[in-house]
């Protein structure tokens, strides 16, 4: 099977190739096929990154989940890759620091991979040349919800991490929605090809959109708690949104205009997203998490309870809100009980 073209296809001028009075062009069809296959094979999602080299994780003896991510794999996804920069450790009782990456399909089933790296007899200094860079993969199903856990054990010290999606680039129509076609002059105008392209791109647009944010935890195994009804910034503990409170930007305002938001949904004014939170709450209170700008709430989730688990909501963010800095905030509903916030994920998704 040939592979999809790895290099970025040029953008297609819609009016150049598809306007009233124009003929159906085999080269236009080729461009569509190339773009669709390329996007399926190579335009994959990034789920999580980390790289704090200043207050470096010192490791934990017991098996401890230090980062979590919830995500949705795209069409044609086959694996999730991990790149980990492992620091050395001289504390391992068994001399085998283990860093485990597990991908658990919400609908059932999982795969995991262990990285054994970092055993050292001398005190680590974490200078660049001391870091051990490893990469590995786990198998995943396409178009499925996943919970990703990163677990350290026996003082494994992941200092840098990247989780990213991988697809098999073989152009095989057994994999939705690759298109096996090599359009040329005299290519018949067939309904099946037409449907596979339109349907395929639409489905990809729904399911393969970017993963927007992973706050995977504090990276130490000890995650922050919130016991106030006042909304509190997860990053710095501030209680109001201002220009100096840390938050996230998701848009690409290259020309400072809303129309250049490249995550526009079909409505042109909202983006369909899933907001997922992993937390637990003591007592009867519920936990609440939101993304907040100075102009208001962009997305929120409530109702998290005592179970330490993922809680999700499907919602929309307006494109206006996406132009703002969005602060990640948390609170408890009653001020008496405590929310332990383990992770927050936000990703585009349209059922």
């Amino acid at each position: 099977m040939p592979h999809a073209n790895i290099n970025y296809p040029k953008m297609i001028h819609p009016f150049r190739w598809a306007r009233n009075g124009q003929i159906p062009d085999a080269y236009f069809l080729r461009q569509l096929v190339t773009a669709q296959n390329h996007a399926l094979a190579y335009r994959r999602k990034t789920f999580f990154r980390w790289g704090d080299f200043e207050q470096r994780f010192t490791g934990i003896s017991a098996s401890t989940v230090i980062w979590r991510v919830r995500c949705h794999t795209g069409l044609a996804a086959t694996k999730i890759g991990i790149i980990a920069g492992m620091g050395r450790s001289d504390k391992g009782s068994a001399g085998d620091p283990i860093f485990t990456f597990r991908a658990s399909k919400v609908a059932g089933g999982s795969d995991s991979v262990q990285i054994h790296a970092g055993a050292s007899l001398v005190a680590p200094t974490d200078v660049p040349s001391e870091i051990i860079w490893r990469d590995a993969t786990v198998d995943v199903d396409p178009d499925a919800d996943y919970e990703l856990d990163l677990t350290t054990e026996d003082y494994a010290r992941p200092l840098s991490v990247l989780l990213y999606e991988i697809a098999n680039p073989e152009v095989d129509e057994a994999t939705n929605y690759y298109v096996e076609a090599a359009p040329t002059i005299e290519q018949p105008v067939y309904d099946a090809t037409h449907l596979r392209i339109l349907q395929g791109m639409s489905e990809m647009w729904r399911r393969n959109g970017r993963h927007l944010l992973s706050w995977g935890g504090s990276g130490t195994g000890t995650n922050p708690t919130f016991n106030s009804t006042t909304w509190t910034n997860v990053i710095d503990g501030s209680t109001s949104v201002s220009a100096s409170t840390p938050g996230y930007y998701f848009h690409s305002d290259e020309e400072g205009e809303a129309k250049h938001i490249r995550v526009s949904d079909t409505s042109a004014s909202t983006v369909n997203v899933v907001l997922a939170v992993h937390c637990s709450v003591t007592g009867s209170a519920t936990g609440e998490v939101r993304l907040q700008s100075t102009g208001g709430t962009a997305a929120s989730i409530t109702g998290m309870g005592t179970a330490s688990a993922w809680y999700t909501t499907t919602t929309t963010i307006t494109t206006d809100n996406l132009l703002d800095k969005l602060d990640l905030q948390c609170r408890t509903s009653n001020g008496a009980n405590t929310v332990t916030l383990n992770a927050v994920s936000l990703y585009t998704y349209l059922a």
Partner: protein, 1114 residues
């Protein structure tokens, strides 16, 4: 567009012609009243005219597949002597007037001309240098001052009314082999090479159209002159495309010979010691210094073997003589072994005759190799150990001593001297790929230099005779392979080592080719594309290109990969670029008053711009000598296999090939005919992106040429002399042509492609005549899309009046403003479907079937028969055709989808087919559709008999763009709860190393960026810098901090780009910037983001990290 063109196309023959010759203010006019010509050209430099000019129009032009050769049109203008014999005297009086010689080089814009002497020239007037005329207003003994350059140039450098087109003039150097300085004369002497334009002027009411209204029907340059027997002065011309054909790129290639020797770098230290009878002696070290050398010092610079031997031996002798060495070490730079090999030799003497003695030299490793000793073999590798015992001993080198050693250094500290320099160096930096990195502070005049017949390094020209090697390129030149990667060696036994500068140009095809065509060496002189040095440009006046040229290039440029032009030796433009034109099925044509790109397309009536009928033959049907149209079905151009060669290597040839084969053609016709296209400007990237783009484009079109072509030849009226050129699409209605569908004569509206075009405007003795060669395809399954009109949601009730059942539609959602409005593609009686755009559920969009009662193109409305019950103002809708069998005959001329199982459209007709339209360009820009969000599909859009409607094709393109460019662009900001603070007082401290992926693959020669906002402050509000870097590999080093940049304790690895951002506040804020994503590994997409800070910097990571969208659509 001038009124003359309108008259031509209307069939008016009241035309007269004016020829303007560069530098000659007297026009040649075909009429008899010179005042008419001078009046029409008033306000220009041309103020007189000779009359009675005749023109011999030569051959026309054609577009042939598989060849990029320019076959220019040859035209002659014949000027009668008249009473003054003005042109005869000028052209053949080639030694007239005063003369002197140019004595200083002259740019195209300089207003002072320096010569040997002006003594014989008047105080003001005209001078001529080559083909250029210059008007001056004053003079000194050796200069003409107040000069107007390019006087009486027929074509301008920026626009029709813009800058006169002057030329640069140089003084040949002895290195060029001849040193004759150009003549500066008071009368014109050089004729060959002058630009000449011929304009057609409508003569109406006894008045000629003005120059602005006239039509430039020919532009070219003089290739010869004749003095005819009848007294006419004949000026022979070739059209402007010949100037492209005749231009040589890199014509003044810089070459030089490497001066022999080794460059001793400042700071290098030589040391010597020996042990004699148990006593160790240590010499005073010899140190390489700059400026002036004192005791035990030697000046940095180039040293030949002999000079170095002299200096080394002198130091060693002095140390021995001073008693600081017990053994005298001396080096012979050249000795011959018994088998005739050249080696060098260390000799040891002076030690005790009874003891076993050891001695050694401690040398920089480069020096050790230079002396002919291998690097290894004796730890440490830089020590050259010797011994001496009872008798004089010596040590012969294991390798040949070197004449040249070129280590590649990133720091620029190592230089090589060159001599025998020829040609002109140019700074290539601006045209290199954007991901090539080198220290632009140290290296500010960088070119690519081939060493002998070996590798190419990027080198900085420090001064006329000094180069600093920097970065090596891969053997195919399209990638850097790193720094410090090699020493290039030439032994003393080898011939002199020649360096030559190689030109490397990247960019999109339109930009690269237009820059080549326009560049003069004077930046922006000849339009905005004029940026290359003179030796990389053809200096075609911009007026002959203009926006007509760039528009004609758009389609080719957008569908071809960006060329990666590597010019290794003086090479003609066609030889260098022609392969890309051949692969793009395109060529240079003359059309619409300029040079254009013409391309092959599928003949289709829907995209026709000409209608060739019986009535517009030179002699229409029904006339006594009616012109019949013969047909010739030929395999002359039939090719069913294309071999594409790519990845050109310096040593010659290509590394890889791709075969495109139309096997059906090979078996059907029982022949295999192949053509090889050597793609000089296409190189490998990790997954062959550029070659894939070329091969896919060719594969798309190959089918056109894998069958015999049926070529018709017919005459044309003068209305087709202008505005019609090879590559154009038309329709033909002809009583004589056999219809492929029946075999009998007569076709109507048969689509055709203009393959050749000839036009002779005639004169008083000869009537005008012209003809075209037309290609027709036997079958006619390539027809237009079914139209789409989008309901205007901004109209009352979102575009639908339920009372009158009237839909209001957007005028041009699916057409350009110059075209028929969208609703105008529909007609009363049409069977239409109104369907929701972007339905929530693709299986159940809101939709109605209806019949159009009437269409109002002025109001962009149509009235429906049944009406749209349940209309929702919250949704958007479009109108398309119903299924094929439900539509009326007038609708069925468009494309409907066929069932892929049986290849039939609703079991009625065979499937329609895709064609290929390489010429269509549109005026829309990306912004015109930027605000339109993507629309997801409806299942009803596809199926047997469903229309292939432009609306859904438009949606597919938008979806593809969004997916590739935006929807999937990684966005992964990371904010840390703990503050990352710089501790202590380092110069830099690494705060974060974050792996990153921006997806594999590259966008050849284009730039995508990683847009970031880093969240930062300083602990006390002082001004400090935070550095954000994107690197291909993780950093290496022995510390996270460094205090001394000259001895770095960590370094960034691989291609990388860094941004330094000043932070001067104790209040947290985000600081934005962009980094080039080409720093990531193109094969895996992986890179590493490194955050470094100066003391007092604090950060929490990235508030934004987003791969930006691709370049705009062109």
């Amino acid at each position: 567009m001038g009124t003359t063109l309108t008259a031509i196309q209307a069939g008016s023959l009241g035309l007269q012609f004016i020829a303007a010759v560069e530098g000659v203010t007297t026009l040649a006019y075909s009429g008899s009243d010179a005042s008419l010509a001078t009046t029409a050209w008033s306000g220009t430099d041309f103020n007189a005219a000779v009359t009675g000019m005749r023109i011999r129009w030569g051959d026309g032009q054609s577009l042939k597949p598989w060849s990029a050769d320019v076959d220019p049109m040859n035209v002659e203008i014949l000027i009668p002597p008249g009473s003054a014999d003005t042109f005869g005297v000028m052209v053949f009086g080639s030694a007239r007037g005063f003369e002197t010689r140019l004595n200083a080089e002259l740019t195209a814009t300089a207003t002072t001309v320096t010569v040997l002497s002006t003594s014989t020239f008047p105080s003001s007037g005209s001078i001529y240098i080559g083909t250029e005329r210059i008007e001056y207003t004053g003079k000194t003994a050796t200069t003409f001052t107040g000069c107007t350059r390019g006087y009486a140039a027929p074509f301008k450098a920026s626009s029709e009314t813009g800058t006169r087109f002057g030329r640069a003039h140089v003084l040949p150097d002895v290195a060029d082999g001849m040193v004759i300085k150009p003549w500066v004369t008071s009368q014109p002497r050089v004729w060959v090479g002058r630009w000449v334009g011929i304009w057609a002027h409508q003569l109406k009411g006894g008045v000629l159209d003005t120059k602005a209204q006239a039509q430039l029907v020919f532009a070219g340059r003089i290739v010869g002159t004749r003095d005819e027997a009848d007294g006419h002065t004949v000026i022979e011309l070739q059209d402007a495309r010949a100037a492209i054909r005749d231009c040589v790129l890199l014509r003044d290639q810089w070459t030089a010979q490497v001066a022999e020797g080794i460059y001793l770098q400042e700071g290098w230290v030589f040391d010597a010691a020996d042990t004699e009878a148990g006593t160790t002696l240590q010499a005073n070290a010899l140190t390489v210094v700059s400026g002036s050398a004192g005791a035990n010092e030697i000046l940095a610079g180039i040293y030949s073997l002999e000079d170095f031997a002299s200096a080394l031996n002198e130091w060693l002798f002095d140390e021995f003589n001073a008693g600081r060495l017990g053994i005298l070490q001396q080096w012979e730079p050249r000795v011959y072994t018994s088998d005739g090999q050249i080696r060098s030799r260390m000799q040891y003497s002076g030690g005790s005759a009874t003891s076993t003695n050891l001695c050694g030299l401690h040398l920089p490793p480069e020096v050790k190799r230079y002396m002919g000793f291998s690097y290894g073999g004796e730890p440490p590798g830089s020590i050259l150990r010797g011994w001496e015992d009872s008798a004089t001993q010596d040590r012969t080198s294991d390798l040949v001593p070197l004449a040249v050693l070129i280590p590649v250094e990133a720091t620029g500290s190592y230089n090589i001297d060159v001599e025998n320099v020829r040609g002109t160096w140019f700074n290539n930096t601006s045209y290199f790929p954007s991901d090539w990195s080198f220290n632009t502070t140290l290296f500010d005049n960088v070119g690519a230099v081939q060493i002998g017949d070996g590798p190419v390094f990027l080198m900085d020209l420090v001064d006329a005779n000094t180069l600093a090697p920097n970065v090596a390129l891969s053997p195919v030149l399209n990638t850097q392979v790193g720094e410090h990667i090699a020493f290039y060696e030439r032994s003393a036994a080898d011939p002199p080592l020649i360096l030559r500068q190689v030109g490397i140009i990247v960019g999109d095809f339109l930009t690269v080719l237009t820059r080549i065509l326009t560049s003069t060496g004077t930046a922006s002189y000849n339009g905005s594309y004029d940026v290359f040095p003179a030796q990389l440009g053809a200096a075609i006046p911009w007026e002959l290109l203009g926006t007509g040229w760039t528009t004609s290039m758009v389609s080719l440029s957008s569908s071809m990969p960006d060329p990666f032009v590597v010019i290794t030796e003086p090479t003609g433009i066609i030889d260098q670029i022609g392969c890309d034109l051949v692969a793009g099925l395109s060529g240079f044509v003359w059309k619409d008053q300029g040079i254009r790109i013409g391309s092959w397309s599928t003949p289709a009536a829907a995209i026709a711009t000409h209608a060739f009928t019986e009535n517009n033959k030179a002699a229409p049907a029904g006339t006594r000598d009616e012109h019949r149209t013969p047909a010739n079905e030929t395999d002359e151009y039939q090719i069913n296999q294309i071999k594409l060669e790519y990845d050109r290597v310096l040593s010659g040839g290509y590394r890889y090939t791709v075969n495109l084969i139309d096997k059906a053609s090979q078996y059907d016709h029982g022949m295999q005919r192949a053509v090889t296209i050597s793609l000089r400007n296409t190189f490998t990237t990790p997954a062959n992106g550029p070659i894939n783009a070329v091969s896919e484009r060719l594969a798309t079109a190959l089918r056109t040429f894998s069958q015999p072509l049926r070529i018709l030849r017919r005459t044309i009226l003068p209305a087709f002399y202008e505005g019609c050129a090879p590559g154009d699409i038309g329709t033909i209605a002809d009583d004589w042509v056999r219809d492929p569908l029946t075999g009998t004569r007569s076709v109507t509206a048969k689509a055709c492609l203009v393959m050749a075009h000839r036009a002779d405007w005639g004169d008083a003795d000869s009537p005008p005549h012209g003809e075209v060669d037309l290609v027709i395809l036997p079958r006619a399954k390539v027809v237009a899309y079914c139209p789409t009109a989008q309901v205007n949601e901004t109209a009352p009730n979102a575009g639908y009046d339920a009372g009158t059942k009237t839909l209001t539609l957007h005028a041009h959602k699916h057409s350009e403003s110059s075209q028929t409005v969208d609703v105008g593609r529909f007609a009363a009686g049409d069977k239409v479907r109104i369907i929701e755009i972007d339905p929530d559920d693709p299986a159940s969009p809101t939709t109605w079937l209806d019949t159009i009662v009437s269409v109002n193109t002025g109001a962009n409305t149509c009235v429906l028969t049944t009406g749209l019950a349940g209309w929702s103002t919250a949704l958007r809708y479009r109108m398309i055709a119903q299924s094929y069998t439900d539509c009326v005959a007038a609708q069925q001329v468009n494309v409907f989808q066929a069932d892929d199982a049986d290849g039939m459209v609703q079991d009625t007709i065979s499937a329609y087919e895709y064609g290929y339209d390489s010429n269509t360009a549109v005026t829309w820009t990306e912004d015109d559709f930027e605000e339109t969000s993507v629309a997801l599909y409806a299942a009803l859009a596809s199926g047997d008999g469903k229309p292939l409607a432009t609306g859904y094709e438009f949606d597919a393109a938008r979806l593809a763009n969004s997916l590739v460019s935006a929807r999937t662009a990684p966005s992964d900001p990371v904010l840390y709860r703990n503050t990352l603070s710089v501790s202590g007082t380092p110069v830099w401290q690494i705060l974060a190393i974050e792996p990153y992926t921006a997806h594999p693959g590259v966008l050849n020669a284009r730039t995508r960026h990683l847009r970031y906002r880093v969240w930062a402050r300083t602990s006390d509000g002082s001004s400090r810098t935070i550095r954000i870097s994107l690197c291909r590999h993780p950093p290496i080093g022995s510390s996270l901090s460094q205090t001394d940049t000259t001895i770095p304790t960590f370094v960034l690895v691989g291609p990388y780009e860094s941004d330094d951002i000043t932070v001067a506040s104790s209040t947290w804020d985000s600081y934005g910037g962009t980094l080039d994503l080409k720093m990531c590994d193109p094969g895996t997409g992986i890179g590493y983001i490194v955050i470094q800070g100066q003391q007092k910097i604090e950060t929490r990571g990235f508030a934004q990290l987003l791969a930006t969208s691709l370049d705009a659509v062109i």
